[in-house]
Amino acid sequence: MWKLGESTVGRRVNLTGIAVLVFFLLLGILVSMRLTGLGRTFPNPVGGVIQRLASPVENVILSVGNRIKRDTRALWSFDQVEKENVALRRDVNKLTGENLSLKEQILAGMRYAALDQGEFRSPALDKYAKVGATIIDRNPTAWYQTLTLNRGSADGVAVNDPVIANLGLVGKVVSVTAKTAEVLLITDGQGQVSALVRGSSGNPTFGIVQGTYKAGSRLTSTGHLEMLFRRADKVNVGDLVLTSGLGGVYPVDIPVGKVQEVQLDKTGLLKTAYIDPLVNFDSLEEVYIVKTVGGK
């Protein structure tokens, strides 16, 4: 009986004690958690020692792990790497295009500089402002020989402004938008240039240079320019043809071409000089627009 009673009492005491212990333990833990929450500082030498021991190990594991992960990233995230690859290839193509464009601009700048130094010097041109332009398009039809330049009225370009290249005359502006200008080449049948032929004697012979380009005749052997003279005019093969400055469009002394061939007319009264242009129109990339209309 005593034993039972002692046992029962002892058990009751123990259960109560355990309950009280657990209660205070929980309370203590909650208080401890409150006191050592985020942003609270408290002396933690044991934690400091563990951190000091762990940090070199952590550093090694993390750096090795990062390296392995980096080296095997293509395996773990194949889709992502593939997408990145596509994006990078697109960027490379874009940058290559930009690089080529910049190189072209540098080359164009160098050619402008060469043009400025002048294959020819015309004092008549010096009094006009000039603007460099790049050919951005050629007439897609077979009806006209025109070029489109990347300069327009915003750059001070106007209709009838002459266009020149490093070796000579190219044509004149026939239409202008804010950012572009269309140039009719002197080789086109619609364009005429008041010109003169300066022979070896130095005396000029005046005339009109006419483009021979018409639909379907571009590839004929007669050349792209021709000029009519009287039979008595002294014009020889190899003579230089220059603008005369009389037409009101082109300034004087801009080279047009060289006489390639001279033929007598059937009537015997006139002769035709076939002129080879100095400018290679097919490979032309940059030109100067001479602002004769609004840019003196």
């Binding site: 333990l25 929980l26 203590g28 833990i29 909650l30 401890s32 958690m33 409150r34 006191l35 050592t36 929450g37 985020l38 609270r40 408290f42 933690n44 044991v46 934690g47 563990i50 951190q51 021991l53 762990a54 190990v57 952590e58 594991i61 993390l62 792990g65 990062n66 392995i68 992960k69």
Partner: protein, 169 residues
């Protein structure tokens, strides 16, 4: 002593690895709770007093290592050890599938307790976050059982982690 040192070293690894190796193997930000897994293993293979002492000790070390909310892991890992002892006395620990289930359940309870204590400490975790973490960590720990349990069980039974009574030493 050797058993104690090895377990202490394993405890050290369980503190270091989640922030390093398992940070790299994180699964949507979820990492395993290796200390909890180790306490479960110890509780499965130790006597009650030893298991509770390891739970409390490992929890306290983790609290001090983390440097905040001291008591959170002490209480949690003690409860984890207690729950493991309870389940282990009823479930056959040689059964691999039951061990996986045990680890999943005990980890879930432990993580829930951490979430509950976090509320008590004034942390503002959403119910969705708690659910995600509890489920994720429990699954991760259960998956790790497949990799770790065979060799650690063998070590506890026959190897360096085997408990030796005083008369055997």
């Amino acid at each position: 002593m050797r058993r104690f040192l090895i377990l202490a070293f394993l405890l050290f690894l369980t503190l270091v690895l989640p922030g390093t190796l398992f940070h790299l193997l994180a699964w949507s930000g979820i990492k395993p709770d290796l200390t909890m897994l180790l306490v479960i293993y110890i509780a499965q293979h130790s006597r009650p007093a030893s298991a509770l002492a390891w739970g409390l000790g490992a929890g306290l070390v983790e609290d001090l290592y983390l440097g905040h909310f001291v008591g959170m892991y002490s209480l949690t890992l003690t409860v984890v050890a207690l729950l493991t002892l309870y389940l282990n006395s009823r479930w056959y620990r040689e059964n691999f599938i039951l061990t996986v289930l045990l680890v999943f359940l005990v980890t879930a309870v432990g993580q829930l307790l951490i979430g509950f204590l976090g509320f008590g400490a004034g942390l503002s975790w959403s119910a969705g976050d708690i659910f995600r973490v509890v489920l994720g960590v429990s699954v991760y720990n259960a998956v790790l059982v497949l990799v770790t349990y065979p060799w650690i069980h063998r070590s506890f039974m026959q190897g360096w982690l085997r408990y030796q009574a005083k008369y055997e030493r």
